[in-house]
């Protein structure tokens, strides 16, 4: 830990940066109805939404790991025409307004969508289901994992892989026993970023999956709906979301920082 004194300008700007993030948090805390907090929290709707949020964000992270690590490997290791364009297209959801992402998902997986028509014909319905909420969360969150893992793959020391290869290991064995352990911190960091993005996801979910308590109403949606009629419930729900996120981010901090 360095004890260097920062230049005044840097200290001031950094302090403004901190205040910018802390003030809204303090605002939330200042409006929190602490006396009735427990009652608001144990209300079934809060717990239902929290449970659904945890399930949806965990499922989205699992899918992102399954598809995202291979995708990142291809981006980092395989050279093919149009790679940069395809990488840009698959990271587009990071900057796309989530509501637009939700509409795009409807045009793909909705009842009249490109693939959705076929799915509907065999009786599979994705919008308005929990699977739809998972799909929406995966769509907006997976690019965070892909980019982080790709950066890890590009910065790792490839001589270990070469050594394993010369010793006769197969390509899949090298990937499992050498590459994956070496990029584990990046995978971990990417998964945390992806999970955090999935947990806070709102726009694509409400557009694509709709809003129904217990099925698609995740915590951010429940907060939005509650804000209009029962702001104290909305504040408590927000605090739950914050507390869960904060606990996980703090617990992951060491690994999280090491990867960058």
């Amino acid at each position: 830990m360095s004890r260097e004194r920062p230049p005044l300008a840097i200290a001031i700007l950094a302090a403004i940066g901190v205040a910018f993030f802390l003030l809204p948090l303090l605002g939330l805390l200042s409006r929190t109805p602490w006396s009735t907090a427990f009652d608001e929290l144990t209300g079934s709707e809060a717990l239902t939404a929290l449970r659904l949020s945890l399930v949806v964000s965990a499922a989205a992270t699992a899918i992102a790991l399954l598809l995202g690590i291979p995708l990142a490997w291809v981006y980092a290791r395989v050279s093919f025409p149009g790679r940069d364009l395809i990488r840009a297209l698959t990271t587009l959801p990071m900057i796309l307004p989530p509501v637009v992402g939700g509409v795009a998902l409807l045009f793909a997986f909705g009842r009249r969508g490109l693939l959705g028509q076929t799915l509907d014909a065999v009786g599979i319905r994705i919008p308005f289901t929990t699977a739809g909420a998972v799909l929406a969360a995966t769509f907006v969150a997976m690019p965070f994992l892909v980019l982080t893992v790709e950066a890890g793959l590009r910065s790792m020391d490839r001589r270990y892989e070469d050594a394993a290869r010369t010793l006769g290991a197969s390509r899949s064995l090298v990937f499992r026993r050498v590459t994956l352990p070496l990029i584990a911190p990046s995978v971990f960091a990417g998964a945390v970023l992806c999970w955090a993005r999935a947990l806070g996801e709102f726009g694509a979910t409400i557009t694509f999956a709709g809003n129904l308590p217990g099925t698609t109403q995740t915590l951010p949606l429940a907060v939005y709906i509650a804000l209009e009629t029962r702001p104290e419930v909305a504040i408590m729900l927000s605090l739950v979301l914050l507390a869960v996120s904060l606990a996980i981010l703090v617990a992951m901090r060491d690994r999280y920082l090491r990867a960058f």
């Binding site: 809204p24 605002g27 939330l28 409807l106 909705g110 009842r111 009249r112 919008p127 308005f128 806070g200 709102f202 409400i206 999956a209 709709g210 809003n211 129904l212 308590p213 099925t215 698609t216 109403q217 951010p220 907060v223 939005y224 709906i225 509650a226 804000l227 209009e228 009629t229 702001p231 909305a234 504040i235 927000s238 979301l241």
Partner: protein, 249 residues
């Protein structure tokens, strides 16, 4: 995620910058209006500017409950037009209204279905059918509250697959073909111009939505805001409202 607070903050910032840049002779009027008023208020604004060219409108359309929350939390509105009396009452109770609120229109419910009504939905009773995907507005939104009232009168169990954040979102889900039916206002079906068809709800199950308007405390243009309210209530304003399917209050 304190979304409404963030939106309100963004509006504050936007209004600060636009007031500085506006020419002194022009008056900017920020109107918060229920999303079912989207088309008719744009038209009323355009018509009003023919007699009051200095007035410039900035509309913020959303569910009345969202708008009321924004106003109560200090969003800079000059006028608020709500799709129900409850949300206007919230604004009045918070001491945010200037003068009396006035009812200017009323609206009726209709079932929005795919064009040509392929699922042969004849009335509220069909909304309980297992093969009908029903979408309603959230019960916290006026359109959702009215829809539940109508379904209750018709003794039809409400089993929507989604509770949308405002009535236009319900309309869109039907127009996009994701839902087979949604309960919206008569005026929404009309404004969708062919993208959905309307199925009437029998008189006995109907619910009337009354739309009140009020000038909001802290407005920088109380006179112009008052004149616009008068225009909305005037015979030409009433005619425009009627042409979009609204009834007299």
């Amino acid at each position: 995620m304190p979304l409404a607070v963030a939106v309100a903050a963004a509006l504050v910032l936007m209004s600060c910058s636009s007031e500085q840049s506006a020419a002194p002779s022009s008056v900017e009027l920020t109107v918060f209006a229920a999303s079912s008023l989207t088309d008719v208020f744009n038209k009323l604004g355009d018509d009003f500017r023919k007699t009051d060219p200095a007035a410039h409108f900035r509309f913020n359309f959303g569910s009345s409950s969202t708008l009321a929350t924004q106003i109560v939390n200090g969003a800079p509105a000059d006028l608020f037009a709500s799709a129900d009396e409850d949300n206007m009452a919230k604004v009045v109770a918070a001491g945010m209204s200037l003068g009396a609120t006035q009812a200017f229109a009323s609206n009726r419910l209709q079932i929005a279905v795919a064009p040509g009504n392929p699922k042969k939905i004849a009335g509220p009773a069909d909304l309980a059918r297992a093969d009908v995907v029903l979408v309603l507005a959230a019960p916290t939104v006026p359109a959702g509250k009215y829809a539940l009232e109508a379904l209750k009168k018709a003794a039809v169990p409400a089993r929507p697959v989604s509770q949308e954040i405002d009535v236009r979102a319900v309309l869109n889900k039907v127009a996009l073909g994701e839902a087979d039916a949604g309960i919206v206002y008569v005026t929404d079906v009309r404004s969708a111009s062919g993208r959905v068809s309307g199925v009437d709800i029998p008189e006995i199950d109907q619910v009337t939505a009354r739309y009140p308007v009020a000038v909001i405390k802290g407005t920088k243009a109380p006179l112009v805001a008052g004149r616009f309210v008068d225009y909305v209530l005037s015979p030409p304003g009433r005619t425009t409202l009627a042409s979009f399917g609204f009834s007299a209050p």
